[in-house]
Symmetry: D2
């Protein structure tokens, strides 16, 4: 990847830089999520992943509707690769595990996986590039405050 | 109903007023529309009905994204009663039949039904009140041009 | 309504019969729930309501995927009236309040409302008839065990 | 890619083998497809792509609900990479362009793109691996009849 970035989740063990820990978000499967094949409809894992990203951001103090209303900024998915390993079904108690992989100049990169709650293996994995854009959809650099929150260093004196 | 209205579709046989004919819109059922019960998920009939209303409006020259961009006006569902008589299934070729029942001061009333294409009986019926609102969600009276288009009299000299 | 029913939620104060208390279920609004009008898309309140009904049933020990797998039975919405009073928006913390109004021979009747968490007024109200059907979609009487659970008397000696 | 496959769309100019031509399917954007950002919600392009794949298969005589009912077979997305280049908006007249890239032993590979109708450039591109599975979700080899239909050679004497 040509652009220089901050690999927050891949920092070496000796690094003193803060790193966002894995964020885990529970999802219950309802009828709305399933299809006539009896399994979760493939596009709906992208919804699950977005709910979890939203809560991960909220957990570090980033409120997307506030960003949109006050700064005209929003995160949009730029690229997404999804692997479907095994299906989830009605009433399954799932969890979305979110690992922030890198903070770039105008985007973040994440790996997310959806699995059964408490179980080790993923059913679905997602690799995403999520970009920051303004109200006209133009790419924008991440403001320092958002970078700090994503690096887990917000509110700390360095 | 207290408010005076223009019962466009129930005008007596002797009336000379134009009336919108029944509008019919085809819908194919895809996996995204179904659920683990093997049938179309109940909430999705509201989507089908809205697609058909949109095309009914477009057919008489009312473009909703244009209304929103230029006048800040939009139609919103105010009230909806849905009866589910029989299920639709994957790959069914359906049609939505739309009957504009009344044009009120700030709202329209429709009956819609979803049935198999070419078949007489409905699977689902919907009775709706759809109101016009401004960008802040406040009720707004229908502009004369829209009333005329809904009455089927737009572009005619009276 | 012709059929005799058990008005569990409207029992008089002097009644000794158990009654399901109001069930409240939290919902967060995500991008997937909203539309280009900036508000929650009208059909999605039916999804919210169904999530809450599912959890209400689960809370009294009724597991719908278990019912389907072991008995071939499922609940389907037969009739639904929705009133849209005011819109919900992105990131709103909502709650769905569920009141079981009556348990009929082959159906239950509920009133549900969606409002902001902790706030008194509803944004959307729903009145529903939810019927029990077998795998072929034919109406089926509620089994005694399910009736007892819905009446809040399961597991009690009378 | 280790498995031998039939590169139907990449056959050399000198090849005499039939090839499925590009399949184009129109999609209109409705409110249900959009989100509060004013654009089509990112997960919904997967729905658009699946509608188009379904119609591409139907156009060559492959009926998925028939396959499921009679043979217990279904196509499932195994892997999907989506690039979001520019947003689509309410009321846009889009088209999904489907190019079958390869027919493997138990899967097909496609490239799809979503663009404005009649316009050259894609807004969104999708690369997919779609596998055939039985009712228990186990991979199954494509039956000869389906292979022939996908190769565009069904019903021809070679």
């Amino acid at each position: 990847m040509p652009e220089a970035g901050l690999d927050v989740a891949r920092t070496s063990a000796g690094s003193s830089r803060s790193v966002l820990p894995r964020f885990v978000f529970p999802i219950r499967v309802y009828y709305e999520d399933t299809d006539a094949g009896g399994i979760v409809y493939h596009a709906n894992y992208l919804k699950f992943a977005e709910r979890a990203r939203t809560e991960m951001l909220r957990a570090v103090g980033i409120d997307q509707s506030d960003m949109r209303d006050r700064q005209g900024l929003g995160f949009v998915v730029r690229r997404c690769t999804v692997e479907y390993l095994a299906p989830a079904r009605l009433d399954d108690a799932l969890e979305v595990r979110c690992d922030l992989r890198a903070v770039r100049g105008a985007a973040i990169e994440l790996t997310q996986e959806v699995g059964k709650a408490g179980d080790a293996g993923p059913l679905v994995t997602l690799d995403l590039v999520v970009a920051l854009v303004d109200a006209e959809g133009r790419p924008r650099r991440l403001p320092p405050e958002i970078r700090d929150r994503l690096a887990g260093t917000a509110g700390t004196s360095t």
